[in-house]
Symmetry: C2
Subunit: 336 residues, 2 copies
DNA sequence: CGGCCTCATGTAAGCGCTTACGGTAACCGC
DNA sequence: GCGGTTACCGTAAGCGCTTACATGAGGCCG
């Protein structure tokens, strides 16, 4: 508990002024080698570490970025967190994690708290907050980068995967295998990405000349449980489905589970494709065919974009859209 | 970007001193109702929000706690994060997340960075850092609460589940079903919890009068992949296994996968039990029998303990050991 | 050798807040 | 009407840093 040494202690011990210590420690200005050595020795002896708070007060930068996520229970988000954390750290930033539970109110509350905390910027994903409110923060000089979300506003940089393409890829794979009764369990429909994936699904169907059948789409929420329920509904409304595209891998898990429970074999009776390519998706029974999101790339791009913004660099290209890819495993096959 | 208003602006507008504004905002001291109203009006008009950094500099408290985790890819940790975040927020704290990749060096680096950042305290889980180094931080007045780890030091409060009991519960369940060739895929053996679960397994075997057979235990690392590999090894060394206890649900996923791949039915040919009770474990094929860790309770207890410590309250009881419970689903049955 | 430039360092202000201390006015009981 | 409270508020110091500006010592040139 002994009071931590301050820059004054170091200065006194090294026989210089605090300004010199500060300069030596931050590498600004020129320091005579002997002086530098004396300072380093003093730092060492005292076990001095600069107080970041005091520094932030004057520099107005905390070297901290925040990440706003609806929840962390989805392993895809977890992967994102991991990547972002890593890149942030390598740039000398720390990361504050905020989960919003998908409530717009909580999102705004957090954002304004973060600004008061002098956080340098935020990465936001799956936000429900209206784009203009987000843009408001940006206009006030609080850098924000959106992940995985369709905001129209040009003022907010965006990094996301092409969800529509992903939906199309998944559906085309199924069509190519010979399926014609292809169901879809959607994600939470108040999120733009869910609409996009659904649109990709519809597009692929249309392109193959297949009619859109509302009985073939069930609304989900990106969770295991909603995948389970979605398939039960699907099976009831359209017992002849031979394939289902789940809006994400987590709900595909529920799909697999419900199918097994109903006595259907995968892929013998019904093929399943997911979206995300979680690490665990290679280990489901059977291993899941899915659309891979380049989580690592998203994390890197977004983090570096945000850090650039906090340093005052211009945003440059505002929309970064990455390409998803199809990963074929064993949950899909030709229809019987 | 227009400079954010400071407490001086508010004071001037309200016609009082900054001291009064500060007192009014923090609820300290007595403020005449008209004065308070004037201040509130000024705050409102200016859109003032106190600068947390400046406050922290004088109060020496940031209302921030850190959470150190080996990685976030494990959904069990994700659940913990979620719970901790929630409780922290409800106490007015924000949470900094740090993933250490299981490297002791990174752990210490983080801890000392965090202290420099004036973080109020840390929750640490799965740390490899020697207990005495951790204790060093505590001795310096940096509150730390350990989760899920066996540190002997009395100075570090501990919240964890009884891992040995969990291992015993899992194994006893299998024994009760009539299994006698029970394998175990361990967790990372440099972590105390893995040893504990293994010890529980061995104890149960011994209590039932079954010989310990080294061919029945394979070393894993808590990952899907290590579960997969572990079972392959097990199947080779002891083809007559009829049940396996995986050290966590994630590796149980790999176990399930490897078993299916080798043509064995679960639970027909081999029973499987995991540990953690992830949300997704109810949706594996077949749904996984597992040992439930009370993640929500752990999160709450640990967070409140830590926040208490940061407020200078004494630790009280130092070791909090919670009880795991058996959740029976469909991956276990009597041997054929 | 005087003027000028460069290098190294010190002085001191100030970031936006909290809070110990002191002061004033109103109010109490006697 | 006076000492003593009590309620409210202002003054000013100071948290631990960074940095604009000033200063002084050499070095170099003509």
């Amino acid at each position: 508990m002994s009071a931590r040494p301050t820059i004054y202690d170091v200065a006194r011990l090294a026989g210089v002024s605090t300004a010199t210590v500060s300069r030596a420690l931050n590498g600004t200005g020129q320091i005579a080698p002997p002086t530098r050595a004396a300072i380093e020795a003093a730092v060492e002896q005292l076990g001095y570490r600069a107080n970041t708070i005091a520094r932030s007060l004057v520099t107005k930068s905390t070297q901290t970025i925040a990440l706003l996520l609806p929840d962390i229970a989805n392993p895809f988000y977890a992967a994102l967190v991991s990547g972002i954390q890593q890149h942030a750290l390598s740039h000398g930033y720390t990361m504050l994690l905020c989960t919003t539970e998908g409530e717009a109110e909580r999102e705004e509350q957090y954002l304004s708290l973060l600004r008061a905390q002098q956080v340098d910027g935020a990465l936001v994903d799956g936000l429900r907050l209206p784009p203009d409110r987000i843009a408001g923060f940006v206009r006030d000089g609080f850098p924000i980068v959106c992940l995985d979300r369709d905001v129209d506003s040009d003022s907010i940089p965006l990094v996301q995967v092409d969800n529509r393409l992903g939906g199309r890829l998944a559906t085309e794979h199924l069509i190519g295998l010979g399926h014609s009764r292809i169901g879809h369990v959607t994600g939470a429909l108040d999120l733009g990405i869910s609409e996009e994936r659904l649109a990709g699904y519809s597009e692929a169907l249309a392109a193959a000349g297949m009619p859109a059948d509302p009985r073939l789409v069930a609304e989900g929420r990106f969770t295991e449980e909603s995948g389970y329920e979605g398939v039960r509904a699907l099976l009831e409304a359209a017992p002849d489905v031979t394939a289902v595209f789940a809006a994400n891998d987590l709900s595909a898990l529920g799909v697999l589970n419900a199918l097994a429970e109903s006595g259907r074999r995968v892929p013998g009776d019904v093929s399943v494709v997911g979206f995300d390519d979680l690490r665990l998706s290679a280990f489901t029974t059977p291993p899941l065919t899915t659309i891979k999101q380049p989580a690592a790339e998203i994390a890197q791009l977004a983090t570096e974009l945000l850090i650039g913004l906090t340093r005052g660099e211009p945003a440059g290209k505002v929309r970064h859209v990455l390409e998803p890819t199809l990963v074929v495993r064993e949950s899909t096959a030709e229809p019987a």
